[in-house]
Assembly symmetry: C2
Homo-oligomer: 331 residues x 2
């Protein structure tokens, strides 16, 4: 009995110790640099009740870009990998694709030709693979792919290529009463399939690009069809618009990594109360990738200049992040 | 000391008694009819952990129409009253309106002519009064109007003409882990101004019709402009589409009052797990209004037939509601 009791006391003490450590160090994968202090200082400023910059919980809205901010986006947007895999699966039913320059290039993995077609080419491939089925069928297709497809460089599942420091940041913000929205150029119904499991962000807090939908009754069964037409591009100037459409109030914190996020950060920066803008700068060619001004994917040029001018926080991945991917701890 | 102690015991007993009454009768303005039992039975079915039809909290999504379901919609949609008031305010800057049949009719309160123009006329008046300003300016205009404008028949504020039984239902659902969304044909940014105060529903849980938005920097100030172009009509087939766009999963409970809500109820009814569909039928000409098949506003015809066929719950306002408006208790 006595040893049982001692064991109990020991475990309780351990529990308290762990709790204390957690509270003292809420972002363990972040190095103790200025960036980490800026984040903590902002969160305390808005969430401590007697702070002059206190923000009520209902207004603590934080928006996060996805590609390059929450997970990697090299050597191509992960949703493009999904598109290429879908094209291969669908090709037998579409013999005409081999005669089409764009589709043939995509099927042969010739990304250079695909990229040379710009946004228009990408949208053509998107509607060809994301439409002409019901919302339930599309969700099932993405769910199957995301469970099995592997990243070409690391061999990891795409959902394993998320940033450990950002997962901790999401948890830290939620623990302090923030409501998190993902605001991405990626497909809204693509992200919804995995975002709740991977980031703890439910479908109704995902904002993204979309194709047109149509409701219809098939006999006694209601379905929502996905039409091969773009509805909304949630990128650049589209991001504040998507935020207004879905959230209806201005975020007080915004996190991005590219010029495509600039307007979202500007919109957040224009708020009257306390607010916080952060760019993730990809500087770690060894553990992840290093790119900015000259990159076709996740180009960060104007944004970096604006961040300097406005005093926004910039994460130097190499310097500020102790660990990048969750799987690193297992190595 | 003794009397202090007795007082404490008394107060504690009172507290328990009140709590018990509240738990036993969560919907005090609902008469003890079958409808009330159907609501309570559904909520218990999905929220009691060992129920066969248990639904985890994150999936307990309930959608409510607004006009005619949460507040009145006679003698005209309240947002139309806002449009008419705005037209009068703006008329001095638009002398040409007097020469236009539709605008002149609207300015003279000739609702018959306005109505004869159908949806197109209504959209023309909407864009004329809801656009060509920033989102902040529009919200300020609505906020000022909703604080002061009075209903032509009752003389009450429009926000006082909400249904007490539905306010209790919103509270009851929230207390049982539901997340409430308003899914209305009305303007999304119109409703957001008052829905949090009046219904406890935050801006990010409002879905409605919208006009196009555009982000721009005015010097160093970011603004979102409202363009004079319709973006989306959240009515009829639009409602399930709006639900998919904003929520991304199927509701398990849907509440409406007109044929404009039919597709939302059908979509909810098509779900695999336990679900609940309810129509509010306006049957009380004395305390509110009585209308259905032949009404231009809130027409309920197909919906009533479908409700019968599918076994949906139908509220007979006269019979099922003990009280209609919150202000009745003060009379």
């Amino acid at each position: 009995m006595k040893s049982q009791r001692l064991k109990y006391i020991f475990l309780t003490a351990l529990l308290f110790a762990v709790t204390a450590v957690h509270a003292a160090n809420p972002l363990p994968s972040w190095n103790n640099t200025a960036v980490k202090q800026e984040i903590i200082s902002f969160v305390e400023t808005v969430s401590i009740a007697d702070s002059a910059d206190f923000v009520p919980e209902s207004a603590r809205i934080a928006v996060f870009d996805n590609d390059g901010t929450l997970w990697s986006e090299q050597p191509m947007y992960f949703q493009l990998a999904f598109i290429l895999d879908r094209l291969k699966d669908m090709a037998p039913q579409h013999p005409d694709w081999q005669k089409n320059e764009l589709f043939a290039a995509a099927l042969n993995g010739d990304l250079k030709t695909v990229a040379s077609g710009g946004e228009h080419a990408l949208l053509t491939l998107t509607t060809a693979t994301h439409a002409s089925m019901t919302t339930d069928e599309f969700a099932a297709t993405v769910a199957e792919w995301i469970k099995t497809a592997k990243h070409p460089k690391t061999g990891m599942l795409y959902t394993e290529m998320v940033y450990q420091p950002m997962l901790e940041l999401l948890d830290y913000l939620r623990a302090n009463g923030f409501k998190i929205f993902i605001v991405s150029g990626g497909g809204i119904d693509f992200m919804r399939v995995f975002a709740e499991d991977v980031y703890g962000v439910p479908p109704e807090q995902i904002i993204g690009s979309s194709i047109q939908l149509q409701f219809e009754m098939r006999g006694d069964t209601p379905v929502i069809k996905r039409l091969p037409k773009i509805n909304f591009i949630n990128d650049k100037e589209g991001k504040p618009v998507g935020i207004q459409m879905h959230i209806g109030r201005r975020p007080i914190a915004a996190f991005g990594n590219s010029d495509g996020d600039l307007q979202m950060l500007q919109w957040t920066d224009g708020g009257k109360g306390a607010h916080f803008c952060l760019y993730v700068h990809h500087t770690d060619a060894e553990r992840e990738w290093a790119y900015d001004r000259d990159s076709h994917i996740g180009k960060l040029d104007k944004g970096l200049r604006e961040a300097k001018k406005k005093g926004w926080t910039v994460v130097d991945m190499k310097k500020d992040w102790k660990q990048i991917f969750p799987f690193e701890t297992e190595q």
